[in-house]
Amino acid sequence: MELIIEEISHGKKLIGRHKFATSSVNIGRGFHNDIILSDPHVCAEHLSLQCEGGTWFVEDLESLNGSIFANKQSITRRHAIESGDIIQLGKSQLRFYFANHPVIKSVAFSELESLVERFGRWPMIITMIALFSVINFALLYLNNPNKEIVYSQIFIGVISVTVGYALWPLLCSLMAFLNKHEPRVGSQLGVSFVIINLFWFTDFFKALFSFNLSSQWSWGWLIALISIALTFSLFWFNLYIAFAQSAKRRFKIAAGITVLVYGGLFLNDLSDKPEFNPYPVYDATILTPVFSVAPASTTEAFIKQSDELFIDAEKQVDEKK
């Protein structure tokens, strides 16, 4: 029976794969072996495998450091091996499969995969990064209260922010690379900047709502929800591109990081809050007249609405007593 031997790393990543149609295979550091391992803890003649009557047997050739199965059982005599067994010799690991070992179903090219591929093309990446930088530049320019604008300063600001944001997808690629996966730098950059740019739109809608809607409408939760969803999808895509994980595991990790980020922000907010704030906290968002689309309230209606404020303020006094 044909035997497939995989050299794998400690993280179970494939290093090399060999297929043997013979009835015996020798493994060791010596050059006469069928599989030559360069691990110094492996003996020149370390393991020997024989096929007898359709069963493969493994035997340790009285090596210095011995050989053990993944379940910690050491190989002292001849052992029959089963498909999928892992044996450690020295610091190396080998996995054994028979030719009839079942493989998982083939995965069809998904919509998602092609989307990630599309976002990972350079024209898309450049467009997204440019969009990000342009919006950033515009905001820095618009908020500059000086008559004389030092453009080089704004440029440096924009570039450093863009590079700063690009570090995250690059870090994800590096992680993938270190884990023997394809780095897919393009896809990471493209998807990340698409999502980061979506945050700008969230900001814009937030400003539009703040500007137009009366404080009696509560929609802050909606923006918070969208932000959290965007953050989650960013991490989810980063994981999707970098690692081949089960959907469940990917969801768990992305949700975990999202909770960590927003939980941290929430705790930070909480600890920053003074015991008593003598200053009013209000929403001062204004946009240009063009964006003022909601109908204006009359003075009477505005004053009538303030009845609630008196009730709320009194409630605070009663509660804290």
Binding site: L142, K147, S215, Q216, P289, S297, T299, L309, V317
Partner: protein, 417 residues
């Protein structure tokens, strides 16, 4: 009999010169003068000092509210102590207060001496020589001669303008005429030779209401006084027909009362400024002192005009927005005094739709003096591409009705020309 003694004494004193007069008054009245101190119970050290004077033969002593305000707010923390001209010390108990006129009456219950000051029945003449008594900076009792200059102009609550040195520590001390009658009480100083006194009729009124007042707790008394004061203030302002006055390209309200005074400034001299900015600030330069951390009873209004014709509308609005996000209350108040502000905002317009604003209104409630509120209003015009008007006011210690009616009147009187 007493009146007769005073009369004889005053006829006699006519013939004395000012300095001798001062010495005479001081000698005669010294036993009725006291240094008033708040002693911190935990450390047994004094935490504030002032002066006081006896106003009856059974030990009632008048002083300033602000001298004993620590005790009025936290009776568990302090004791009120006196020291007389002989150096004798003892405890005093707080009887009644008038926070609007910064007065308090305390009682020396144990064996008071019987000599006391008389309160004048007449207002002094302008230019009349007066004598201020008190214990400045804990240096011992002194007498300071000075001149009566009438009531302070442009004040909501009457104060006598006294030309003479009223120093810290003299607060609560009496100011007497040449007959030794009390015509005022030291309260504040405004630097060189400018002192302010509480007119004697305020003390007379407090004495007349004494029996009704002592029935109530100090907090009840203060609540009633604050309510009456805001009622008097806002009734007068709301009854006025507000004139509008021109401010840059807009018109803004003029409440028509002389104790709200306006000051203006602009950056027209700064050629490198991106926006033209002008500001008018109108404020009442007096307030009601409740404690070191809590003041109330004042009105402020502020108007800003911005114009930026050389820049884009988007940039104008970005910069404009940063100018309106840090408004606050004008009075001091802490956690134990008020709730936190509750705010609302909306796009508003006045009844003839001459201006479109983003309006913000914030309210906080008083904790001890229920039914009174601080109000902060801010509105930013949003109907011109490259110019804007910000109108802002704060009210402190007003009831809901006045808070709302004032807001309404103010909102309706800010317009573009």
């Amino acid at each position: 009999m007493k009146r007769f003694v005073v009369l004889v004494f005053s006829v006699y004193s006519f013939i004395l010169g000012a300095t001798e007069q001062a010495q005479k008054i001081f000698q005669d009245m010294a036993p009725s003068l006291y240094q008033i101190r708040l002693i911190d119970k935990a450390t047994s050290e004094k935490s504030s000092i002032g002066s006081g004077f006896q106003i009856s033969d059974n030990g009632y002593i008048a002083t300033n509210y602000h001298v004993i305000s620590g005790y009025a707010q936290h009776p568990e923390k302090y004791i009120i102590e006196y020291e007389n001209d002989q150096g004798k010390k003892g405890h005093l108990s707080l009887q009644t207060v008038d926070v609007i006129n910064d007065l308090a009456i305390v009682l020396l219950a144990e064996n008071p001496q019987t000599q006391h000051f008389m309160i004048s029945e007449q207002t002094p003449e302008k230019g009349e020589e007066l004598y201020s008594l008190g214990n400045p900076h804990d240096l011992g009792m002194i007498v300071v001669p000075g001149t009566y200059n009438g009531l302070k102009k442009e004040a909501f609550n009457d104060r006598i303008h006294f030309t003479g040195s009223v120093n810290p520590g003299m607060s609560g001390g009496p100011v007497v005429n040449r007959f030794g009658e009390v015509v005022g009480i030291n309260v504040a100083s405004s630097g060189n030779q400018i002192g302010f006194l509480i007119p004697h009729d305020k003390l007379a009124a407090l004495i007349n209401n004494f029996d009704a007042q002592v029935e109530k707790t100090i907090d009840q008394q203060i609540t009633e006084q604050l309510k009456a004061n805001q009622n008097r203030l806002l009734t007068e302002i709301m009854a006025n027909d507000w004139q509008t006055k021109s401010f840059a390209d807009a018109s803004i309200p003029d409440t028509g009362v002389n104790y709200i005074r306006c000051w203006g400034d602009s950056n027209a001299d700064k050629t490198d400024a991106l926006l033209f900015k002008a500001v008018t600030n109108c404020q009442m330069e007096e307030y009601v002192y409740i404690s070191e951390a809590f003041t109330t009873g004042s009105i402020d209004m502020e108007f800003h005009f911005f114009k930026g014709e050389e820049i884009s509308s988007t940039r104008f609005y970005q910069i404009y927005q940063t100018q309106i996000n840090r408004a606050g209350a004008s009075n001091r108040a802490g956690k134990e005094d008020v709730s936190e502000f509750e705010c609302q905002h909306n796009i508003t317009t006045d009844s003839d739709e001459s201006i479109r604003n983003k309006a913000i209104l914030c309210i906080r409630a008083f904790k001890k003096y229920r039914g009174l509120y601080d109000v902060m209003y801010l509105s930013a015009s949003i109907d011109h591409d490259k110019q804007a008007l910000v109108s802002h006011f704060t009210l402190s210690g007003v009831d809901k009705n006045f808070a709302q009616s004032f807001s309404k009147k103010f909102m309706e009187s800010v317009k573009w020309n």
